[in-house]
């Protein structure tokens, strides 16, 4: 066939865009700075050890540094499959079961810290220091969507 009007305009774009040849491991993001992401959240550093742990786990999963505790997991390049892995890691790190809806539907570190404290308090196994700060967070993030 000669180059016809219905020939695709090749510039290697489709190949690259499709992530081909197929990667041998799940698609992992390239390391990025927060400034290069589309986050609209205010920047705030972790306020307690629990949030510090969460920031570390998130940064490793998303490959983004630094992270604000108000960043939205999905806005920062996360997707549902990645969330599944991350949630499992969080549960292992904090030693308790958190409802999955927390990460999928309230996807910020501040909100998950609150959820973890709620679970820990309910089970009476919480670390008071962390949860006191999370109580504060619950108050301060009251105005957030």
């Amino acid at each position: 066939m000669t180059a016809g009007v219905d020939e695709p305009a090749h510039a290697g774009t489709t190949l690259a865009a499709a992530g081909l040849p197929a990667p041998p491991v799940p698609v992992t993001p390239q390391p990025r700075r927060r400034e290069d992401c589309s986050s609209t959240a205010p920047f705030e550093v972790p306020r307690n050890p629990l949030e510090e742990t969460l920031v570390e786990l998130w940064s490793a999963a998303l490959q983004v540094t630094p992270l604000s505790i108000h960043d939205d997991f999905f806005e920062m390049g996360g997707h549902s499959l990645m969330a599944a892995e991350l949630l499992t890691e969080i549960q292992q790190a904090v030693g308790c079961q958190i409802p999955a809806r927390t990460l999928y539907l309230q996807p910020t570190i501040a909100e998950i810290a609150v959820a973890i404290c709620d679970v820990l308090n309910a089970g009476q196994t919480g670390e008071p220091a962390d949860c006191a700060v999370a109580d504060q967070a619950r108050g301060s993030s009251g105005g957030e969507p």
Binding site: P8, T14, A17, A18, G19, V27, F74
Partner: protein
């Protein structure tokens, strides 16, 4: 999507058609477009925007050629038009987005479950659900056959995944949002993208909690099988388990509910309901014809891994290639009188379940559900008529009907409950 009887393959200006446009499927006539493409340009490049496009494959033989050669046409770059231009996170995680040999190992235990004892085990549940969803129609009042059919697949999905019945309706609703996010019936006010994301996240959250629970309390169900699955001694990652739960849910929501809708609509509009309803001996061949006729999954996407020549066109490595099942199932070279719903059609080499290694893993349980559904329908209802406007689904992925208001005339059988009629009918169909 309308199942039309196009007449003139040259009446369409193909250059003006975007075959991926969801509006074509809700308001237009895709069969007329596919017919024109099959006859005039069966391997056709469709430009979607400045940068992207895809090859449209519309002939039966070419669709099979693409699907049966996973080395030349990979599933690992994404499998739906909606994913063109971005990497698929489910690549090599989800059964449908994995090539052999990994695919073969992932599929084996799922297939064993679905074709082994599951169909017999779930038959009472399916039968119960079929009666339940048809019960509203027995009073002779108008009822929405589309809504009734939407409630049907949970009998197979819910039962085989071990999902509690209390969650079935919510899961159906979320699955519909995830599949048909462009359709006004399911789209949230904030738009299609938000609808799709919301549905995905709710479903993944649901399955994640179910997965955690099943780890503690394993059972004889598909979720436990996914959790125990090992490929080269490695378990599936949590993301892969969830992606496969999602796939099985979506898979169950396509063929089982849509095939009865498109078949019933055709039988009503052509006045041929009784012809099939009076012939239980034609149940199996009729179900196969209903599958060909409705072909609920419109398309699947592959990426070429090397240069392939097809009907004089050069498909290059990296090109997206879309095969259109519904077009293949109306191919004049394979099916005599393809626009006729013929319950006696034989042979019927339809591709409604696909072809090659990714042939629908739920084919067995889907066929059984459809047989039970039509059996019950025919033994309970003497006739049907339309009772309002039929609304077609806005989706390039699913050939669907969102609203099918009908009035059914129940068979008069003094003393016979709807349950009794099924038992009578089953006795006539030992094949089940």
């Amino acid at each position: 999507m309308r199942h039309s009887h196009p007449a003139d393959p040259y009446a369409i200006e193909l250059d003006k058609i975007n075959i991926a446009d969801p509006f074509l499927f809700s308001d237009g006539d895709p069969h007329a477009v596919w017919q024109a493409m099959r006859i005039r340009d069966p391997v056709r490049w469709q430009r979607t925007d400045g940068q992207h496009g895809f090859w449209s494959i519309t002939k039966h033989a070419d669709v099979e050629r693409v699907l049966r050669d996973p080395h030349a046409f990979t599933s690992e770059g994404g499998t739906l038009i909606a994913l063109i231009g971005r990497p698929d996170p489910a690549s090599r995680q989800q059964l449908s987005a994995t090539d052999p040999p990994r695919h073969t190992k992932m599929r084996a235990p799922i297939q064993r479950f679905l074709t082994g004892h599951a169909p017999t085990r779930f038959e009472p549940t399916i039968r119960g659900r079929v009666r339940e969803v048809l019960a509203n129609g027995l009073a002779g009042e108008p009822f929405d056959f589309a809504a009734a059919m939407r409630a049907l697949p949970m009998a197979t999905f819910g039962a085989s995944m071990g999902v509690p019945k209390a969650d079935w309706d919510r899961l159906s609703e979320l699955a519909a949002m995830a599949i048909a996010y462009d359709d006004p019936a399911y789209r949230l006010e904030s738009g299609s993208d938000v609808t799709m994301r919301r549905a995905h996240r709710e479903l993944f959250a649901y399955f994640q909690d179910a997965m955690d629970e099943r780890r503690r309390l394993p059972g004889d169900d598909l979720l436990s099988i996914l959790l125990n699955l090992r490929i080269d001694d490695q378990p599936l990652s949590p993301g892969a388990v969830l992606a496969n739960c999602y796939l099985l849910l979506i898979g169950s929501m396509i063929t089982v509910p849509e095939i009865p809708k498109s078949a019933l609509l055709e039988l009503i509009t052509t006045g041929r309901y009784a012809e099939w309803a009076e012939r239980p001996d034609l149940l199996d061949s009729g179900v196969e014809e209903a599958l060909r006729w409705g072909t609920s999954a419109n398309h699947v996407l592959r990426y070429a891994t090397r240069t392939v020549q097809l009907r004089g066109k050069t498909i290059r490595a990296g090109d997206p290639v879309v095969v259109w099942f519904a077009s293949a199932n109306r191919d004049e070279e394979v099916f005599a009188d393809p626009y006729r719903f013929d319950i006696r059609r034989s042979p019927n080499r339809h591709l409604a379940f696909g072809s090659g290694p990714h042939y629908c893993v739920g084919f067995g349980i889907a066929r059984i559900t459809l047989r039970l559904l039509f059996e019950e329908l025919f033994s309970s209802f003497e006739s049907f008529e339309l009772a309002g406007e039929v609304v077609h689904l806005r989706s390039n992925f699913i050939a669907g009907i969102t609203r099918l208001p009908v009035i059914g005339k129940a068979r008069s059988r003094p003393g016979a409950s709807p349950g009794g009629t099924v038992a009578d009918h089953t006795a006539r169909s030992p094949a089940l």
